[in-house]
Symmetry: C2
Subunit: 461 residues, 2 copies
Amino acid sequence: MTINTNTRAVEAQIDARIEARLEYWIEQLGRLCAQPSISAQRLGIDDCAALVATMLREEGYVAEVLPTGGSPIVYGDSGPREGAPTLLFYNHYDVQPPEPLELWNSPPFTLTRAGDHLYARGVSDDKGQLITRMAAAAAVRDVLGELPCRVKFFVEGEEEIGSPNIPPAIDAHKERFAADGCIWEFGSVDYTSRPTQTLGMRGLAYFELSAQTASQDCHSGLGGSLIANAAWRLVWALSTIKGVDERIRIPGFYDKAKPATARDLAYLAELPDQSEAFKASYGVAGFLKGMTSGTELRRAAVFEPTATINGLTSGYQGPGAKTVLPARASAKLDFRLVPDQSPEEIGPLLRAHLDAEGFPDVEVRYLAGVKPARTDPDHPFVQLSIHAAEDVYGKPASVEPLIGGSGPLHPFIHVLGLPVVTSGCGYPESRVHAPNENIRIPDFINGIRHSARILYRFASM
Amino acid sequence: MTINTNTRAVEAQIDARIEARLEYWIEQLGRLCAQPSISAQRLGIDDCAALVATMLREEGYVAEVLPTGGSPIVYGDSGPREGAPTLLFYNHYDVQPPEPLELWNSPPFTLTRAGDHLYARGVSDDKGQLITRMAAAAAVRDVLGELPCRVKFFVEGEEEIGSPNIPPAIDAHKERFAADGCIWEFGSVDYTSRPTQTLGMRGLAYFELSAQTASQDCHSGLGGSLIANAAWRLVWALSTIKGVDERIRIPGFYDKAKPATARDLAYLAELPDQSEAFKASYGVAGFLKGMTSGTELRRAAVFEPTATINGLTSGYQGPGAKTVLPARASAKLDFRLVPDQSPEEIGPLLRAHLDAEGFPDVEVRYLAGVKPARTDPDHPFVQLSIHAAEDVYGKPASVEPLIGGSGPLHPFIHVLGLPVVTSGCGYPESRVHAPNENIRIPDFINGIRHSARILYRFASM
């Protein structure tokens, strides 16, 4: 993509406007962070949705609060622009609980500035990101006199609890949310200050497995030879799901898993090597299956589906010895899925597997799931975002064709048909979901600049 | 054994004396139950030991409070009787914690009489049993003018936490505790009002297995393909210990396990069928390995060693979904052992097995253990107790060659060389270790009568 002189001149004006309005947008960020919005506890959700709608209206958008089965979606629309495409921002106004409170150095719901840093729950995930979008659109509008394309805001309130109502909401309102490109809720620089461009997320299927073998616990001396032990049933059942070679043993599980392409591997090969930092952070001597570093490690990290036991609980868990034979045992188990696996298909495969292995008594409950999804790296909108990032950050973007985590990406890509890119204000020490969540002001500015460039260039695509 | 007319006449006098002194001994039981003595919390232990010593002195014994590494042993001795054998009573003054308090219908440390029932923590296990021994010896002494044999009381204070200090205390003081026969701490009638004679207990080896794979938990989307999961390591390791066929797979585990003898099987064949009551109590449709009832079920219940997972703990155990990859997981695991297995040998076998199966990373910690032990059913002292029981209860005793539970029987049988019998005041609804622990006064009287007959007949063996 060639950027002409006029574009460069306009973008310099936009950058100047962003600098000039910085304190205003930090104030707006403080206003938004001051409103708790904890989806896990449904605390402040409706008040925060109303605040986001108010803030969008103050910027000239027609804003609505759309009910769902859970937290409402705040939808903002700048209105039609003849002959121009539509850009959709996907963000969320809900946050993780702030606990443990004693580990915060400042009140979690008061934006606190210390040097170049801003601290608050949600300042990075995702209120800061939302503000960068609002600030970017405002700067472009201020310089041009009006928005050069239609802008829609899709701001949900259940991202932190798995976005259960987003796929049906999109299915039900395809026309309303129609657009030509989407900027996803997050974006960050890495440890080397390179911007990161994420193009896909793994899916998730989350289950609870449980065994109940008796109506009450039994003394192990009395029942050990006589009645079934729920903990043993669960352990034996789990041990059939994945082998020590890390291979998932559920028949059919891998059938729809697509391998990485040559292009994916090329992107992975260019990513910075973070293996030593990762090992140090988790105190591990090495990686699974003898992997060390490089493209193969990065491929395995995201292009292989996984089965993770998230928790185990049964019987006596206190100090010392209690000779109990537990009547009940349960495990949390998540599968990370790669395209084109689907969470809806994993449950029946798991059930059939346990039945075939002799564990019809082990109950399987589906708790949550999202589909994996990827944006085509060759889409012009993706290339636009990558080039805009290099302009803003002065370094080439790290392109991640897929990341290990999960989000409600699938309906945006596959129902609305959008190319989806990332942009934003995070950095590796943002402490997302943890105490002292923070961003750095220079990253906040660059996040606004990057989103503004995407918007401005996209309008003339 | 033939009981002559004179013996019968003396025993009638002893019974009359027991009836006459009943209220006094219920008072003494109340005095003892009023003193809390919770070994798990070391609450009231020293005060209760002092009280037991006082009560023994009031009955004419030389009593000492012997320190151990934990709760002291109260030792009482009536002194030498020329030409007569020595009878040792093994009991314990410690009790289980009374919680949950809200389920008690009366204060747990106040002996409460309701009709024929006496309620208090410890009224059955084991303070009531201890009082039956004191009352029995007193009645025989009162009728004969003096005790007809030497009587020793060995009353420990850590039975409820596995008697860790008893084997070394006996090893260190073999002469002091020397005797010719022992009455064990418990005894009861069954649902059919038949007295039960127990001749052996399984041993126990209790372990904690744990895996630690990282210094902190990881996001499952980030680490699932990369780093070892403690919960998986633990599950895989446990699954190698016992198969779904209930066979323990540790090489050498069964080598020293002695099968039931023909004589054992004959005793088991005569025991009442309690399989339906057991199934109803635990809400199970059937028993392991398709067992239904009868001698084979009773044999398996006690003559087969077991491996029981007592508890599992790892990662997230709350409601809903949390996508965590746990750094740590642990399990409690007990083995019930049959003669001549030994807990000291199980740890090394388990360690070697886990190493051979590829789990050197799974840590094994030995928490507690006791050896299995059995009294020879043909010993004259055993036959004496069985016949005395039939005289008292008017029904033949149910002889259990081995029971599923465990206790510090081994050093009494194999270090002091004693034949050990049971006698006492329990019944199937005594609610031992549970709220509303209780005994019935007729059982209390019969327990005293049975112990008195054993003592009187034993003196002339």
